[in-house]
């Protein structure tokens, strides 16, 4: 199995730890370790977890017209983006469909990085190249030449502070979706964040894919196994856990974050919970810039709607083309895109509470709630009840604007030191 797929430098570590491995985007990746998905999921909500995300791809976009090209190819209006900040958006086709979602990092006025999903570096680099025409831009796909791991959970900064130089300085003024440092030692930014051991430069980004406080770390791949092991050691007393893609999926579903090519894909990138990723003007009537896919998005014909939902309990249906979404009148209105179980939450007195919620009632027990997204033909109201069906199996769910409460991703960093 391992031979058919690409591997990350941590593959040997995953296998040695008895991880349950599977193909993800062409890479042989861990779904979970012997600890199990539930404990991994809870570790991130209650302390910290680490994820191998080296399968993701980064594309460097450099040159005097870098901004022009990214303005054309990415859905966010990047004109106001400050150095050291990053933003989430998508790269679209002319018809408004999603090629991939992408976080754009701004190093300076001419140097940007685009971080995309596993196996997508080539497709995104090709798309940028085919649209650059006369623009003065260099595009460099770093696929398999850059290491990446995420540390997520409230103890992430405390654990990292044992391993990086000048942690007080690094963590000072580091809001959500900002970053410091650079993985390339020839960059002037690379002095900002260095590992104590070996003086290794890293790019440290206050972002992630769990909805919880934490960081994504970009590093030369030859140093990532050591960093991974050092973080596990430094986090031992906080019960840090290595987490697989299973926990990553259930955490992101509870945090209402989309999985590219599953929750966003070959349909128009609009009418979804991530409208902030589109460059709307103030009165929401149009866009502040021209970009590929714009005209298709402004034409509301044939646009479907994506809504988050939560189940009554942890029971799921299998998502996909065989699933059906049935409204209160018994009409089939769409399909299920994602259905995962967030094991850190439960319904309590008509509200969802999380293991990380403050002032939990004594008899609260996190039993898990299924959650995810539906793609439907019509606009739904929050609070509306639906039935999800797949084969003979049916579950009742409710349309909600948000799922797991009391998430930490956006809280001030100083709360976690």
């Amino acid at each position: 199995m391992a031979n058919e797929f690409k591997t990350t430098p941590l593959n040997g570590w995953h296998r040695q730890q008895g991880a349950n491995m599977a193909d993800f985007g062409g890479y042989d990746m861990p779904l979970w370790y012997e600890t199990g998905v539930k404990k991994e999921h809870l570790a991130v909500l209650e302390s910290a977890g680490i994820f191998d995300t080296t399968h993701m791809a980064c594309v460097m976009v450099n040159g005097k017209d870098a901004l022009k090209l990214l303005q054309l190819c990415h859905t966010r209006d990047l004109t106001g983006l400050d150095q050291g900040r990053c933003v989430y958006g998508a790269v679209l086709e002319d018809n408004g469909h999603v090629i991939d979602d992408a976080i754009v990092y701004k190093f300076n006025d001419t140097d940007y990085m685009v971080c995309v999903n596993a196996g997508m570096g080539g497709a995104i680099a090709d798309h940028l190249n085919s649209n650059k025409k006369n623009l003065s831009v260099d595009i460099d796909d770093l696929t398999d030449r850059l290491g990446k791991m995420d540390i997520q959970g409230k103890n992430s900064a405390v654990i990292l502070s044992q391993l990086i130089k000048d942690p007080e300085k690094v963590f000072d003024k580091m809001p959500y979706f900002s970053f410091k440092g650079h993985f390339d030692k020839s960059s002037s930014l690379s002095s900002e964040v260095r590992l104590k051991d070996g003086d290794i430069p890293v790019l440290l980004s206050r972002s992630g894919y769990t909805g919880e406080f934490g960081f994504e770390i970009f590093i030369d791949p030859q140093f990532i196994v050591k960093l991974w092991e050092d973080i596990l050691k430094a986090g031992e007393k906080y019960n840090i856990m290595a987490c697989g893609l299973g926990a990553r999926d259930s955490l992101r579903a509870g945090a209402v974050l989309p999985l590219s090519h599953q929750d966003i894909g070959h349909w128009k990138f609009t009418n979804h919970p991530w409208m902030f990723a589109l460059p709307f003007n103030e009165d929401q009537t149009g866009f502040t810039k021209d970009f590929i896919g714009k005209d298709a998005l402004l034409d509301s014909k044939s646009a479907k709607f994506t809504f988050p939902f939560a189940g009554e309990n942890l029971r799921k249906v299998m998502a996909g083309d065989d699933s059906q979404v049935i409204d209160k009148n018994g009409n089939t209105i769409g399909k299920v895109l994602t259905c995962a179980t967030d094991m850190g939450i439960s319904w309590y007195d008509g509200k969802i509470l999380s293991v990380a919620s403050p002032d939990l009632p004594e008899d609260f027990k996190a039993k898990g709630i299924s959650c995810g997204f539906v793609l439907v033909d019509k606009k739904l109201d929050y609070g509306e009840k639906l039935t999800l069906q797949e084969g003979k199996r049916k579950i009742k769910v409710i349309v909600l604007s948000d799922i797991r409460p009391d998430r930490t991703a956006r809280k001030k960093l100083s709360n976690f030191l």
Binding site: M21, R315, V317, R393
Partner: protein, 132 residues
């Protein structure tokens, strides 16, 4: 996932093509899912049980096993009436993973026809089926 030669497939049970196991203990048949099934499913978070007194034909769906990753129906290895449920699975569904033939048993039935056991696979035949 486990390799086939790493699976725990006891000699004293019989197996279905859908990876359930059945074992005769006195007048009753004990039923569960086997090591291959639990390994494929991953961590079990919920087992939906039938009711005591329900009768099923061999091959009927009698419950579901739900893991973090997937939902899987479970089918009767032989016809019979449900006489006991493993209620411990309500609080400890992970027994299905940790001890699929012991604490992780799912139901006990009164077989309608014990000779149906002969139609199930023994360890050798089951492993041969997995190897294809």
């Amino acid at each position: 996932m486990k390799e086939i030669d790493e699976l725990n497939i006891p000699e004293d049970a019989k197996y279905t093509k859908d990876h359930e196991w059945a074992k005769i203990e006195g007048d009753t048949a004990v039923i569960g899912i086997n090591d291959y099934a639990q390994d494929q499913l991953g961590e079990v978070v919920f087992v939906e049980l039938p009711e005591i007194g329900d009768s099923f034909e061999k091959g009927d769906e009698f419950g579901t096993v739900e893991s973090v990753k997937a939902v899987s129906e479970i089918y009767m290895p032989l016809s019979g009436e449900v006489i006991e449920l493993n209620n411990a699975l309500e609080d400890n569904p992970e027994f299905v993973n940790s001890d699929p033939y012991g604490d992780g048993w799912i139901i006990k039935v009164k077989p309608a026809d014990v000779s149906e056991m002969d139609q199930l696979m023994d360890k050798t035949a089951y492993l041969a089926m997995l190897k294809g």
